[in-house]
Symmetry: C2
Subunit: 343 residues, 2 copies
Amino acid sequence: MNLKELSAILGLSQTTVSRALNDYPEVNEATRQRVKAVARKNNYRPNTRAKGLATGRTLTIGHVIPVSTRHEIVNPIFADFIAGAGEIYSRNDYDMLLSVVADVDEERVYRELASRRSVDGVIVHGPRENDPRIALLQEVGLPFVVHGRAGTGDSGYSWVDVNNRRAFERATNFLLDLGHRRVALINGVETMHFANRRRAGFVTALENRGLRPDPALMRSEEMTEYFGFRAAHEMLSGPTPPSAFLISSMITAIGVRRAIGDLGLKLGRDVSAIIHDDELSYLRNGEEVPIFTATRSSVRHAGQLCAEMLLDIIRHPGQPPAQKLLEADLTVGMSTGPAATPD
Amino acid sequence: MNLKELSAILGLSQTTVSRALNDYPEVNEATRQRVKAVARKNNYRPNTRAKGLATGRTLTIGHVIPVSTRHEIVNPIFADFIAGAGEIYSRNDYDMLLSVVADVDEERVYRELASRRSVDGVIVHGPRENDPRIALLQEVGLPFVVHGRAGTGDSGYSWVDVNNRRAFERATNFLLDLGHRRVALINGVETMHFANRRRAGFVTALENRGLRPDPALMRSEEMTEYFGFRAAHEMLSGPTPPSAFLISSMITAIGVRRAIGDLGLKLGRDVSAIIHDDELSYLRNGEEVPIFTATRSSVRHAGQLCAEMLLDIIRHPGQPPAQKLLEADLTVGMSTGPAATPD
DNA sequence: GTGAAAGCGCTAACAT
DNA sequence: ATGTTAGCGCTTTCAC
């Protein structure tokens, strides 16, 4: 069923039908009702491509998901982000175009998206410090919102980010308040802006208490489970093991838990692990208690905000860039107890 | 830069330029070279929508990701599947259109995709027993491939699946060979076909040894971490705790591990946990050893196969449906030891 | 308030 | 081997 057929049924011109469906003011209200009713009855849906061709807009947003050429790992938090963004898109009749692309090919993909006019805008994932993609997108004139920030010059473009610095500062303070003095940071690659900020928050909290960050308790690598296992295993086997962990990823945290169990240690007694990037819960008297509701839900929220912001930019071009800093929702509970042997 | 402008530069008609770029045989080789050179130099890319309008094909594949209305959880394995499929699409100049949709709205979305002609075909995720979506897609005539099977009548449509039955039968046999007699199954919702098959494999293995499956050691629920924790906690606190676990999801397995630690038990001594749906590894003498390389990489592979199969269907319509059953790559190692106290 | 006609950028018959 | 022309399904002037 296309416009032509529909208007034939109605005995109206394509023009009027189109106007009625798109809520143009000049069409008679009675006509509009009739048109809409018949359209619904016949299950009419405008052809997206034709509409896009005619209007110059695509009603499509691109997401470019970089896949590491080295590890072939897809960061599972993308799923949450995508879910949040997808919600907003479908609510606004936008489509989401996903390009999974080897990180080395990213630039080419952005250029293609721009020149084929296949999307109205893009979301940039996983920015690195001074990310070249931002300049590229500005150059080709494709509207975009960055999930995260790319370091300096944050005001020249729109972004949505979690306040990683503050989240990790708060979490570190929390542990320090509990009496921990040897807190380990297991972080992502610190050329990634979020990891950089997390480290900054961690270090700030320590220094504000006059503690010197111990390099032996700070690791930064691609966040695989094995990395977490290895790092925790080494730290815990060392001369002055940490009594608490601050971990940048759920996957990595699994490795840390594994190391703890492997060494015969007990979580909550020997070690208090803090886990970022996921929601975990605990059972107490048959009740489910959150131990650390962290960024997994925040990421979904960030996805929604990015999408909303981008649609706004597309609909009202020429606005100054906007930024939003989300507070990570860190709820710390049961499994994180006081240090067993405070120094 | 569009075709019109490009052909003006070249002093040729749009037709010839189009033909040259699309490798039609009738165009002069010298002309073709010249056209391609100039096109490249001017960074020309055909407008996707215009091309789609003209050809009737969209060069786009739809993926509908159902989000549970109850739990708002996105299964993280989608990320791996999507990565695999995305690889194939970009290699074939196809785009991927993602619709994240509340599970109750799924039917509407499929109908829309069909009637707006916005995709050439779709991949169906997470089929349930006798899934209504299959009939729907056959009705509207949209080519599709199912990731997984929907139960009976498996030959009427194309699918790619992991051999869940055999994987779980093999895993169960492996544990039985090690002397375990009380093996717990922590499974997904068994109206999902994969969970149904996994259970079947588990039961078959037990019965082949003359063992009666113990209902107290079999749970089936939506695979959250908390479910794993609760189930394992209850089973391990019961009168006859299991000495090994067979778990249908990485997330759920985290909960099981947590329960084990919480009860002061030790993995590899008191309990041998088998984890499905992810790759895990172990450290032995500084070497990384896989303990269970299961479906995470298989899922990526499945994504590739689904995509390839769908493109093939789209390009050569009228073929009989095809099916592929992948063997899950189960490598079991270190963390799974003999039963501590074989009955 | 409604309609006729042009055009978005491309491909595909149908010439030549 | 190249060009002319007519659409694909929609929106948008411009007339009435």
